[in-house]
Symmetry: C2
Subunit: 324 residues, 2 copies
């Protein structure tokens, strides 16, 4: 900028004014400055600007894994809103490790992001206290913060969706419905299990619950265990997209009644079509990002807790009757 100023024969500040479109510069001077800028290929140093102004126009996003379609969709929606507001997105995947989540958040904070959207992996977020006190708005998405922290949160109706899934299967005559899902340490898994259990009421049987990792081997083993029971399940409820896919693969085209949590591409093309309880990841991302920007604009109301509805999409797999 100094070079531009001397090249254009003006003061530093005048260049700054032109670059920022501030008023009070003679058109001819501005033109001379712009020419110098083009000639020298100058581009403003954002770091210095940030240092001086205190705002980075950067938002941090911590998700579990970009390669998971759910989070990729959420990510894209957040990105769109962020760009719309003239900001940039720093993002990172925690890989479901609390330590990594914290590292990412702290690195983002060291870079003085203006706001954070976090899909937490851990359940202790006291480390955020300082940042929150410093005024950085934080929005939790998909999962709530750990105990003792009350901040904006956008969740899906996990329990309600699980209930819908179970009810739907029961409508089609099923009474023995198994649940395959994540460790209940993960909020969404716990909530879906809760909804499943509540809807089943007296029919609940904990032997029908499987909470092992969604790897092909463990899912295959768990299905073998379930079907070997004296009173085996006639239907399956899978707790998220990964379990649904792993289960379908383990079933190897065997026709078993099934509802999965999370929609996925091609669910309609399988035979039978896979009935799912669908969330809308883009919607969740958009809502979270917009809430964040509302905070950045100064909205200081009490923390909001938004619950997005989910939707049962019948496609055939849930409508298979139980074997006689």
């Amino acid at each position: 900028m100094k070079d531009v100023a001397s090249a254009a024969g003006v003061a530093l500040k005048t260049v700054s004014r032109v670059v920022n479109g501030e008023p009070g510069v003679h058109p001819a001077t501005a033109e001379r400055v712009r020419t110098a800028i083009d000639r020298l290929g100058y581009s403003r140093n954002e770091s210095a600007r940030v240092l001086r102004r205190g705002r980075t126009a950067t938002i941090g996003l911590v998700i579990e894994d970009v390669a998971d379609p759910f989070y990729a969709g959420l990510s894209r929606a957040v990105e769109d809103v962020v760009i719309q507001h003239g900001c940039l997105l720093l993002s990172g995947s925690s890989g479901e490790e609390p330590g990594r989540e914290r590292e990412l958040v702290e690195t983002f904070c060291a870079r003085r992001v203006d706001g954070l959207i976090v899909v937490p992996a851990g359940d202790d977020h006291t480390y955020l206290r300082g940042e929150l006190a410093a005024g950085t708005p934080v929005v939790f998405a998909d999962r709530p913060p750990g105990a003792g922290l009350d901040v904006d949160t956008v969740l899906a109706d996990n329990a309600g969706g699980a209930g819908q899934a179970v009810r739907h299967l029961m409508t089609h005559g099923h009474r023995r419905i198994a649940f395959l899902g994540d460790d209940p340490a993960i909020f969404t898994a716990a909530e879906r299990l809760r909804g499943y259990r509540a809807e089943l009421g007296g029919l609940f049987d904990e032997r029908l619950v499987s909470m092992r990792p969604p790897s092909p081997e463990t899912v295959r083993a768990e299905l073998a265990r379930l079907f070997a029971l004296d009173d085996p399940p006639t239907a399956l409820f899978t707790g998220n997209g990964r379990y649904t896919v792993a289960t379908l693969r383990a079933l190897a085209r065997r026709r078993v009644a099934l509802v999965g949590f999370d929609d996925f591409e091609l669910a309609d093309l399988l035979d039978p079509g896979v009935s799912v309880v669908a969330q809308d990841p883009s919607w969740m991302g958009r809502v979270a990002a917009e809430l964040l920007f509302r905070r950045l604009r100064g909205d200081s109301g009490p923390p909001q807790h938004i619950e997005l509805p989910v939707r049962l999409i019948p496609r055939g797999s849930a409508e298979l009757p139980p074997p006689p």
Copy 2:
């Protein structure tokens, strides 16, 4: 930092030394400083650090769309390498718009990213000249830069893969093979078309080529057009994952011989399993990122042009014989 210094009763520089783990600080002093840091909840201001040191420890990534599984996979791999090197990732989706691509790159440059990985949307990258001259390393992935720019590039063997697909279909008796793919303005589409055409040789018939957007409606219309020909195709070659999915959906479980470019989840569970030419997006991301960091470490050899092999995975759909 100033506050920490006065709280600990030391000079600014001593705090800086402790924060950066520089040697030459008495353990007791360091401990006192650390205590003050904890008590005040201090966290280093990266912007100031960047301003002073000139390196941002940030890499910029421009892709087409995070929500596309191919780019999500690539993104994740890049992120992993970047984090491993102690850097952060700024990423943005161009949405296949050259203007947006340029905006993203320029914004990243204004933030003084240390390096860039770009999946280009446009074919004019002269705007990068200045940045390259300034020494910022840039790696192009998935698609090469526009004319007149020779920089590191990581591509897949698009033409070769298309050739493999066609050859495989011909082995199973097909002679009339249609191609559904993107606008050939997109490098990968053009290359795949080239490979398809070369492999077909004299059998090539341009009426069997469709290059309309991969929306459900246009794909349905194009399939109708193709099958209404006097001499309709007996097999389909789809130019990327989106076309494959759109085509399968438009076919509505009609069994037509098909090979798709790009692997996708559940391809094996459809009936018949979908044979594909698979790329490895993680591999591409990893290779591109590692090449970038090699440049950052000072490797200044001539620009590299890496071509990653692709792999035909037969699953059944390509092995359907032509109707008699």
